[in-house]
C-alpha cells in the first residue's frame, strides 16, 4: 500500500471542508478523483502535500506517517504536487526550472559548491522531449503559454522522481489533442509511480481512468469504483449539476 488515509478532517472557519473516512492507493496505481466544485478535492491534495494542516486523522505514506511534517519533508519522502493554477518559476528559463526540480542533493552547500551530477542534462533533455518543450528550453518560463506551463509543471513534478504524484486538473486550458497527450503521459507515468489526478473533463477521465474513480462530495467520499460504474450511478449523477452533468449524459 502506497498511501493510506483514515478519518481525515479539516474545517475552515466552521465549514467542514473535508471529512474523509478512508482512502487508500496501491503502488503504481492511477486514481482519478472527481466531484463538484467545493467537494474538497484540492483540499485533500493540499493536506497530502503539507500545504494545509488537517484537524484530525492519519496519513500513512509508504509505511510512514506524514502528519505534522513540513512540505519540504513530505516532498523529500517522495510526494510531488502539481497545482491547479500552474506554479512554475516564471523568472527562470525552462531548463533552469527543470534543473532545480531534478532529484539530487538540495542543501545549501551542495547548491553553492558542487558541480552538476552527470546525466542530469540528458535527463532534462529527455523530459523536455517528452513534454514537447525542447524548442522552448531556453525561453523564460513566464513567457510560456498556459498549456506549456501546465506541461512544464508536470515535468517539474516528474523530474523530482516522487513515489506519488498529485496532479490537480492537468488538462485545464489544453486543447483536446494536448489533453490526450497529457493523458498518455499520465498513463505511462503510472507504470512507475503512484498517481492521483483531479479532473473535471469527463472525456479526459474516461481516457485515463483505467482502474478506480473516487467521487468526493461535500468533503465526503461518495463512492469508489470503475469509471463505467461511477458514471451510471444515480447518486453521482444527482450530485453533479450543469456542465459536468451534461458531459456525463453525453457519454
Amino acid at each position: 500500500m502506497l498511501l493510506e488515509v483514515n478519518e481525515l478532517a479539516v474545517s475552515f472557519g466552521g465549514v467542514q471542508a473535508l471529512n474523509l473516512q478512508h482512502f487508500q492507493l496501491e503502488d503504481r496505481e492511477l486514481r482519478v478523483i472527481i466531484g463538484p466544485n467545493g467537494a474538497g478535492k484540492s483540499t485533500f491534495m493540499d493536506i497530502l502535500c503539507g500545504k494545509t494542516k488537517p484537524d484530525t486523522g492519519s496519513i500513512v505514506f509508504n509505511g510512514k506517517p506524514t502528519r505534522g511534517l513540513t512540505e519540504v519533508q513530505i516532498a523529500e519522502m517522495g510526494i510531488g504536487r502539481k497545482f491547479q493554477k500552474p506554479s512554475v518559476f516564471p523568472g527562470l528559463s525552462v531548463y533552469e526550472n527543470m534543473l532545480l526540480a531534478t532529484r539530487m542533493k538540495k542543501d545549501v552547500f551542495t547548491s553553492l559548491f558542487s558541480r552538476m551530477p552527470a546525466g542530469v542534462q540528458e535527463k532534462i533533455e529527455a523530459m523536455a522531449e517528452r513534454v514537447g518543450l525542447t524548442s522552448a528550453l531556453h525561453k523564460q518560463a513566464g513567457a510560456l503559454s498556459h498549456g506549456q506551463k501546465q506541461w512544464l509543471e508536470i515535468a517539474i513534478v516528474v523530474l523530482q522522481d516522487p513515489r506519488l504524484l498529485l496532479i490537480d486538473e492537468p488538462a485545464a486550458g489544453m486543447s483536446d489533442r494536448e489533453a490526450e497527450k497529457t493523458g498518455e503521459l499520465l498513463l505511462e507515468l503510472s507504470k512507475q509511480h503512484g498517481v492521483i489526478v483531479i479532473e473535471h473533463d469527463m472525456h479526459f477521465v474516461k481516457q485515463i481512468a483505467t482502474k478506480l474513480v473516487s467521487v468526493l462530495v461535500n468533503g465526503k467520499l461518495l463512492m469508489e469504483g470503475p469509471f463505467e460504474e461511477v458514471k451510471n450511478d444515480q447518486r453521482v449523477i444527482d450530485c453533479y449539476l450543469g456542465r459536468v452533468n451534461a458531459q456525463l449524459e453525453k457519454l
Partner: protein, 342 residues
C-alpha cells in the same frame, strides 16, 4: 462589540501555538497591574498606565489611516507620517491666522477650528498624492514603500524651508491644567482630550465603514477589487475617498499632537515605524486589531520605560513583537480559509 468580534473573525480564529500561553500572559499582566495599582500610593503606576493609554491613542490615530489604506490598496505609505506633520503645521497656521489676522484673543477657537481644517488639508494632500503617484502603484507594497519614502523626504524638506526648524502651538486655555484625581495623581486635560478624540474617531470610522454606503463599498473593494468593479462600484473613486479619509485621520492626529509636543518638520518620522508595527501586529487591514495593537504597544512601552530607560523599552518592545510573530506571523487577527499563499 459582538459585531466587532464577528467582523474581525476572532470567533473562528485559530491559534496554533500552545493554548495556555496567551491567557497566562494576559492574566499575568492584569494581575501585575492590579497589584501595582492597589499598592500604588504615589500614583506613578496609574500615571504610567495613563501615559501608555494616551501614547496608544496617538498610535491608533496614526495607524488607523495606514491600516485602511494598506488593507484597501496594498500600499505601504511611508509618507503617512508627513500627513501628520501637515496636520500639525495646519494647526500652527490656523493659530497664526487667528492671532495675527483675526486678532482673536482666546486660544480656544483656533484649536476648535484647526481640528476639521487639519483633517481636510491633510486629506486633500493625500488625495493629491494618490492622484499623482500612488495610483500607479496599487498592490505593489514594496515599490510604493520606496516611492512614498521619496515623497516624505520632499515634504519634510518643503516644511523645513517654509516653517524653519522648530515651531510650537500654544496650548488652548480650555485644555490647560488637569484633572486632579488625588494629590499625587493629576491627569492632564490635553492627554484626556487626545484619548477622547481617539474614541470619537474610532466610533465615527466604525460607523462610516459599517453603516454607510461608502463604507460598504470600501469594504467590498478591500475584499475583492475586481468583483467590486464588476458590480459597478467605481473603484478609483473609492480608492481616492479612502486615501482622503486615511490621510485626513493622520492630519487629525497631527493636530492633536500639537497639544503635547513641538511642531518639527520630521515629526512624522518619529511615529511612522511604530505605526507600521501597530498595523502589522494588528493584522493588516483589521480595525480591531489595529486598536488592540496600538493600545498594547502604547501601554507596554510606557510600562517598560518606567522600569528601563526609554530606549531599552523600545528594544524590548521589538523583541516582544518578534517573539509574538513567531506564534502569529499574520497578526492578531489574520485572514482565514484556504487563502492562496501562492
Amino acid at each position: 462589540m459582538e459585531l466587532l468580534l464577528k467582523i474581525n473573525g476572532i470567533k473562528s480564529g485559530k491559534w496554533t501555538g500552545p493554548k495556555w500561553l496567551w491567557p497566562v500572559i494576559l492574566a499575568g499582566a492584569v494581575l501585575f497591574f492590579a497589584v501595582r495599582v492597589a499598592t500604588d500610593s504615589s500614583g506613578t503606576y496609574v500615571q504610567n498606565l495613563f501615559s501608555g493609554i494616551s501614547l496608544g491613542s496617538i498610535l491608533i490615530l496614526v495607524s488607523l489611516g495606514l491600516a485602511i489604506v494598506y488593507g484597501l490598496a496594498g500600499i505601504i505609505n511611508m509618507a503617512h507620517g508627513e500627513f501628520l506633520m501637515i496636520g500639525a503645521y495646519t494647526t500652527y497656521s490656523v493659530q497664526v491666522f487667528f492671532t495675527n489676522v483675526l486678532h482673536v484673543q482666546s486660544s480656544n477657537w483656533f484649536f476648535i477650528t484647526a481640528l476639521p481644517v487639519s483633517f481636510i488639508v491633510a486629506g486633500l494632500a493625500g488625495l493629491l498624492l494618490e492622484r499623482l503617484i500612488i495610483r500607479h502603484l496599487y498592490a505593489k507594497p514594496l515599490e510604493s514603500l520606496l516611492a512614498t519614502w521619496g515623497v516624505s523626504l520632499i515634504l519634510i524638506q518643503t516644511a523645513r524651508s517654509l516653517f524653519g526648524d522648530l515651531t510650537a502651538v500654544k496650548l488652548p486655555e480650555m485644555l490647560a491644567g488637569g484633572w486632579r484625581v488625588n494629590e499625587n495623581l493629576v491627569l492632564p486635560y490635553n492627554r484626556l482630550f487626545i484619548i477622547a478624540l481617539t474614541i470619537v474617531v474610532i466610533i465615527a470610522l466604525y460607523r462610516t465603514l459599517t453603516a454607510t454606503r461608502l463604507g460598504m463599498q470600501i469594504r467590498a473593494v478591500t475584499q475583492n477589487r475586481s468583483m467590486s468593479a464588476c458590480l459597478g462600484i467605481n473603484t478609483k473613486r473609492i480608492d481616492a475617498m479612502t486615501f482622503f479619509i486615511g490621510s485626513g485621520l493622520a492630519g487629525l492626529a497631527g493636530c492633536a499632537m500639537t497639544l503635547i509636543g513641538n511642531v518639527v518638520p520630521d515629526m512624522g518620522q518619529t511615529y511612522i515605524v511604530d505605526a507600521f508595527l501597530t498595523v502589522v501586529i494588528g493584522g493588516v487591514g483589521k480595525l480591531l486589531g489595529t486598536i488592540t495593537a496600538g493600545l498594547g504597544i502604547g501601554i507596554f512601552s510606557k510600562v517598560l520605560e518606567a522600569f528601563f530607560e526609554a530606549v531599552y523599552g523600545k528594544v524590548l518592545i521589538l523583541l516582544l513583537i518578534m517573539l509574538f510573530m513567531q506564534f502569529k506571523p499574520r497578526g492578531i487577527f489574520p485572514d482565514k480559509g484556504r487563502t492562496a499563499a501562492d
